[in-house]
């Protein structure tokens, strides 16, 4: 039995190594500003630093700062468990600007000793000389306190995300799947820090899939 497990593991590793892949760092700063009437503005600054790429792009450095995103979403709390929002993202990548319009709806469920959040998002990406890209995304997030029944200040927690992204561009559809496992620490009621592994598999339908693994480091602050 151990031999089969080892064989399966080595097969996965080798297929990932031969496939197109990227390894990098995904730092993120996320802030929330509370406005009146149940509205909040969420601002996210995210970067992507690549340390390894396969195949190695000709004429480009293997390690490079690939992109920087600034995202602003206005979110309205409809009830203690539901929110609706809309926003805009500006991306700087390869010397170009990319624009994205975002709409989202979230439901957060309180379970006995954890929380489950569902996020449905649609977005439209606009880029010079490219057809508009439309995406429909669903993300499931699970937060599990590592001490007690809810996350309190000065406590650790586990966060797992699983997201499915369907996309349509120039009449062609594709699929991306993301998984994230983060260990978080609640510094105070308004500050959290998280780190873990973010795995993504892109282009599942159109071409050969691309595997991406990032070290995710995120800081959340609520004003």
């Amino acid at each position: 039995m151990k031999r089969y497990i080892l064989f399966a593991f080595l097969s996965c590793v080798s297929s990932c190594l031969y496939a197109q892949n990227q390894v990098g760092l995904l730092p993120q700063i996320n802030t929330d500003v509370r406005l009146g009437n149940d509205w909040k503005i969420n601002a996210k600054l995210e970067g992507r630093q690549l340390f390894f790429q396969n195949p190695f792009p000709a004429g480009k450095s293997e390690t490079k700062f690939e992109r920087a995103d600034l995202e602003l979403v206005a979110n309205k709390t409809l009830s203690p468990s539901t929110t609706v929002g809309g926003g805009y993202m500006l991306r700087r990548s390869d010397g170009k600007f990319i624009h994205r319009i975002i709409q989202q709806f979230t439901i957060t469920q309180k379970l006995y000793s954890s929380r489950l959040s569902h996020r449905i998002r649609t977005d439209q990406t606009l880029e010079k000389d490219e057809a508009i890209q439309l995406r429909l995304r669903y993300r499931l997030s699970w937060e599990k306190p590592l001490s007690g029944l809810k996350v309190d200040p000065k406590e650790f927690y586990l966060k797992l995300n699983n997201e499915y992204l369907g996309m349509l561009q120039d009449g062609k559809g594709d699929l991306e799947i993301r998984g994230l496992a983060n260990l978080g620490y609640s510094i105070s009621d308004s500050n959290k820090i998280e780190s873990g592994v973010d795995y993504r598999i892109e282009r599942l339908i159109q071409k050969s899939p691309v595997h991406k693994v990032f070290l995710n480091i995120a800081f959340y602050h609520s004003f």
């Binding site: 409809l78 468990s81 997030s141 007690g148 309190d152 200040p153 966060k159």
Partner: protein, 188 residues
């Protein structure tokens, strides 16, 4: 006299419309007073017991959570191990019909719309009587039954979560708005 009036006014406001802010963390059985351990051992045959220390505005307490017959029992002790109350999860429809209607009417007077999320029956009494109630036996002495009800309620055009405590006559004893911890890291 005027000072006394001001103190009483603010005390009453505080009792009626507090925000529920509570911190709890898991503790080991070795950190629990022997008296509380003995109470649980004598009351429940279940082996899996989760112990928590709770800190709120009213002070510290120790809580034992046990799943028994598909219900969750929470036994609250003071820091010396003296039993304070027992709470057991029940369905809203399990509350006696007449009492349920009084409670619904009371909630309806405050909230334009509401949805019951969770109900816990709370028993307050002597340790021996609480043990009888857990085992399904008739207690020898009098005990108090309250109902702790968590609702999502709409009030002043806002929907929030509230924890309401009613006595066995349907009178509201305590009301707290539940302050939900930030969801920012879950939705962004």
């Amino acid at each position: 006299m005027r000072i006394l009036f001001v103190i009483l006014f603010f005390s009453a406001q505080g009792l009626y419309a507090q925000d529920k802010v509570e911190r709890e963390y898991k503790i080991k059985p070795s950190e629990v007073p022997a008296k509380a351990l003995d109470f649980i051992k004598e009351s429940f045959s279940e082996k899996k017991v989760n112990w928590y220390m709770e800190q709120s505005a009213s002070g510290k307490s120790i809580e034992a959570k046990i799943r028994k017959d598909d219900r969750l029992y929470s036994s609250e002790f003071d820091t010396l191990g003296n039993i304070q109350d027992i709470e057991v999860t029940v369905n809203f429809k399990e509350i006696p019909e007449a009492l349920r209607h009084i409670i619904e009417r009371n909630i309806g007077e405050q909230f334009s719309r509401f949805k019951v999320q969770k109900v816990q029956k709370q028993w307050i009494g002597k340790a021996a009587d609480l043990q009888s109630l857990i085992k399904g036996d008739k207690p020898k002495a009098k005990y108090k039954t309250n109902y702790e009800i968590v609702i999502t309620g709409r009030k002043d055009k806002h929907r929030d979560e509230y924890e309401l405590l009613f006595n066995e006559d349907g009178a509201l004893i305590r009301q707290q708005k539940i302050i939900e911890s930030n969801q920012q890291h879950l939705i962004f």
